[in-house]
Assembly symmetry: C2
Homo-oligomer: 243 residues x 2
Amino acid sequence: MNAMPMLAAVSAPLQSRRPPALVAANAGIDIERLREHVPVLRRKIKAGQSVYRAGQPFHALYLVHVGCFKTSELSGDGREQVTGFRMRGDLIGVESIGLAAYACDAVALEDGEVWELPYPPVLRALFGLPDMHARFTAAMAEEIRRDRAWMLALGTLSAEQRVSAFLVDIAGRCAALGFSDRHFILRMSRADMANYLALKHETVSRALSHLQEIGCIAVLRREIKMLDAERIVAMASGCASVH
Amino acid sequence: MNAMPMLAAVSAPLQSRRPPALVAANAGIDIERLREHVPVLRRKIKAGQSVYRAGQPFHALYLVHVGCFKTSELSGDGREQVTGFRMRGDLIGVESIGLAAYACDAVALEDGEVWELPYPPVLRALFGLPDMHARFTAAMAEEIRRDRAWMLALGTLSAEQRVSAFLVDIAGRCAALGFSDRHFILRMSRADMANYLALKHETVSRALSHLQEIGCIAVLRREIKMLDAERIVAMASGCASVH
DNA sequence: CGGGCTCTTGATAGGAATCAAGCGGAGTGG
DNA sequence: CCACTCCGCTTGATTCCTATCAAGAGCCCG
């Protein structure tokens, strides 16, 4: 109906600008060094399959190597809350440390690969490596801060601002992995994105359409082009949105 | 205007049913043992004063000994999000581990006392106590799970359900400290509570009034009596609320 | 080529925010 | 000790944003 600003043909939207770090552990954990002390199992996961599910016995952490995963919290009565999207270098399972069973689900959004870090061995290995252990602790603290930052966003931003903040977040993570932060493919459905942002998928869809209308982005299904990154950052930061 | 079901005169609403544990560390950390290795400083904090503020150099964790504190996340543009209320036995400052400066504010809601645990010394001490260190790590994981649980609540519950869930949470914590879970005093203003629940204070006020109208609770300013705890738990769990 | 799923868009409804006013407790100063 | 003021709480009226309900288009897959 509206004149859709079609996306230019994409030659290589995900082309890395620099060779992606072989194993860029989220918070500075040197996986190669850890592997000298702990056997690391590589596990391929197909789209839709889970790395682990809530209730399964906790036995390992996982490092995302390829693909994108979502973690989601479940309540007894069927409510679900996506708590995050995990990409290459992200460590998952940390929230379940200290429990007998995993506390949430971790599901692949596309075919991918995780490296399994058996937990008791990792813990033992870290005791011999004080600086690694300190960094691991710092990584957990970082995880808490990330969650808190999203609580701030969810608690204080409107739907459109949340969507903007989400795009800024994803863009930043793409950049950190050596990909373009101006042109990327969302790996999750609108429904997952909406759930994460505490919105409904229709609302997310409308927000994206509107951001496109005002010329901030170009969106075609899951493909996003950041046309006016500066303005999106401004919106994500709580500045009054332009109509 | 409406016939207020007045609260009976309160003799000792906060009377502990059993002697409160001397230092019930949040997640099983044995503070007494830690004190053998680390100098612990006791700091009294007056209502409204901060334990620390975002940006101040990070140098210690704090264990709440007396009083109630709120932690809040701040954004550059002035938005604020209360991320939690911390009571006796709760450890605060954990989210700032690995940073040069604290990442959030921790403010006393009433006169209280915290025990200061200088961080590098604590870290060093933990290296000599593997089981303590493991429990400390588990405590951080627990913190992550608490945050995630609130993300679930905020993302999936209506205003009244959130308020119910909040009351259930507070009641549970009171019980854990040896106090009554049927009759307690909220230590925070409606505004703080609302901010934490991602609502406005008028909405919280209305929700409490409504819960009173339907006979679930009796509320008088900050004093809460749980009259029908079972139903409140049900509402907090996402069951359709009765009108 | 059909079926199902995802995404988009429109119309409408509903819940929380906002705007506004009044009450009452706590603290202050006369 | 009491009057006064400030601040927190409650309640009402109204608006606005997002959810809900509904329909249709596009893409992927068998």
